[in-house]
Symmetry: C2
Subunit: 365 residues, 2 copies
């Protein structure tokens, strides 16, 4: 039984609470003899800044580089509103993505049948929804230089951000989208703004060429990013896999997540390139939700997105697809039995705590 | 009675059909002696390219510069998919926005009570919705340089777009948002990505400073653009005025429009700075919907967004608030009476044509 190196970075706000539930599940898998992990723990975000004056320490970056997978909670909160920009909580996450080369961010938006009524959309629009946003995560306006604020001669300031994409960067993310589409409903929708952005022109050309060369069996459509946002609200079931750049992915995946009415439910995986020597890829798994400082420490947080992120780690990093199925099945069973944290409970209905939800899922395993 | 110079640029696809209805309404106002217009007509988009090999001719740009208001239909369609990039249909619109200095794009998203059920959102989420997206329209990644595709030494290509904002550009759009909020529910939500973008940092700082200096009576909140997209889907009524940059505005306004379930219904205004000498501002009015080439020429298009855009022109460019109220009232009456074009009719229900809708509105005037 392989020993998997797992780094836990709970972060800030509700991060530690939801990560706590994953720790119990990790122990359960070990006790059953189903898997073996060597666990490390580190700090990221505001809590790292408090300890090290950096959003992630060099030591924790080293642990992340060595890990088979990183589990990431959430970062940020009002406490750190005024820390220097390069040390803001998000900088820890951005550095992990960039330095580990995690270019492929997979964000499934699945509407759990038991929760369809929690959506702000009509049930028929979201029932059975199962789409996947594939977001480029190490390029674009997030990392391009120049990225600065300068003072002009007349005393005004000017801010600059630079959106950059190379053919190679676009190809490798499109490839991930096409490959995943083949395991699903075989359709890729590529979203950009080629009518306004040159990176959009290159994006569309590159995806088109790769499709023609290697993925003709997959249905490909091009959609303008603004229209895609609109279509996600109008009739999201028209999509299977949506592939897009870092910034559009940020927004489109949040829209997609909200359709399901269960933001506390959605996991994500961020994957690097496969190492040709070892066949391994670096990976980070995190819930789509943020650190929710307003409810931190109150036992109100829904741990399902975090637990689902661990399930994705089992599947994509540890080759333990059966264990992943089992864990996801347990989540579905618990929901099917009506167990709800506050965020997904009907107004006025009984809700369980973060810990109770974690324990219910272990029981259902 | 002032004589208003109005330039009609119907454009492509359904543009001419919906503009045709406005022409009849213009005649009606003139016949009633309620207003007097001197009308010019021009070409924009694909139809301009067919005639002049440019998405707008210099002659029509001159007419636009001289007009008190431009009414714009829609541009684009598959016919022009392969024209040179600088002549693509959208280039005509982008040039009008930039050269006329139309920095303030107002996009109201109003859910007509008669149409609440057409939304993909639950009725309680959208009923009574009345929000206004104020989008910066002449800056940001739409126009920043460098904006190019270059070939690298290794044969790869690299695309570049540049997001630029100065303090002055941010201040003037924020001012529009604060002023409009004072005439509404007195709340401004400023959306950016300061956690990732330096232009976002400058945006937040500048809006905060202007608020503290001149608009303390208006409630101001800052929201990350991704979260704003999400909140628009979750509970849009939390917003009054949302102010944001060009690219975020493109996407957020499309999401907001789709909430109302009636994309064919929504008008927009794009305004320039007030000329201190004349008190006038350049302006362009256009529907939020596109050229819908698939239904062009079939009499299926809903002319209400175009007619509503003319109502906005009456209000913002011609100082004819009463005439605008009357026209908007006529639209509401016609809808109240159950008249529907196909896009807003219940599935299977009877629908009227573009022309019939235009005539029904004139009758209700
Ligand atoms: C926290 C923030 C930097 C991050 C992003 O913008 O990518 C978040 O919104 C996300 O989508 O993971
Ligand atoms: C047609 C296109 C250039 C335009 C834009 O991106 O601004 C459109 O989407 C809009 O929102 O008016």
């Amino acid at each position: 039984m392989a020993n998997h190196k797992l780094l836990l970075l709970p972060g800030d706000g509700i991060g530690p609470e939801v990560m706590g539930q994953v720790e119990k599940i990790v122990s359960w898998f070990e006790k059953q003899g189903l898997a073996s992990f060597s666990l490390e723990r580190g700090l990221v975000g505001g809590s790292a800044y408090d300890a090290h004056k950096a959003a992630i320490s060099e030591g924790d970056m080293k642990l992340a580089q060595e890990a088979d997978a990183v589990l990431f909670g959430a970062v940020g909160g009002p406490k750190w509103a005024d820390v220097p920009y390069q040390h803001r909580p998000e900088a820890g996450l951005l550095r992990l993505r960039k330095d580990l080369g995690l270019f492929a961010n997979l964000r499934p938006a699945i509407c759990y049948p038991a929760l369809a009524s929690a959506s702000s959309l009509k049930p028929e629009v979201v029932e059975g929804l199962d789409i996947l946003i594939v977001r480029e995560l190490t390029g674009g306006v997030y990392f391009g230089e120049p990225k600065e604020i300068v003072t002009l001669e007349d005393g005004q300031k000017r801010g600059v951000d630079t959106q950059l994409y190379t053919t190679g960067e676009i190809e490798r993310i499109a490839r991930v989208a096409f490959e995943l589409a083949r395991t699903r409903r075989n359709k890729v929708s590529s979203a950009e703004k080629h009518n306004v952005m040159k990176t959009g022109v290159l994006w569309k050309q590159t995806v088109t060429a790769l499709h023609a060369a290697e993925y003709k069996d997959v249905e490909l459509e091009h959609v303008l990013a603004d229209n895609c946002a609109m279509q996600l609200v109008r009739w999201p079931k028209q999509y299977d896999v949506v592939v897009c750049d870092n910034l559009f992915g940020d927004i489109l995946s949040d829209v997609a997540a909200m359709l399901t009415g269960s933001l506390g439910m959605l996991p994500s995986a961020s994957l690097g390139a496969e190492d040709p020597a070892t066949g391994k890829r670096k990976a980070l798994y995190e819930p789509v939700h943020g650190s929710a400082p307003d409810i931190a420490g109150k036992g109100l947080a829904n741990p399902i997105a975090m637990i689902g992120s661990f399930a994705m780690a089992l599947r994509y990093s540890f080759g333990a697809g059966e264990a992943a199925d089992r864990l996801e099945g347990a989540i579905a069973d618990v929901l099917g039995a009506g167990t709800r944290t506050k965020d997904i409970a009907a107004p006025g209905a009984n809700a369980v705590s973060t810990t109770e939800m974690g324990e219910a899922i272990i029981k259902a395993l």
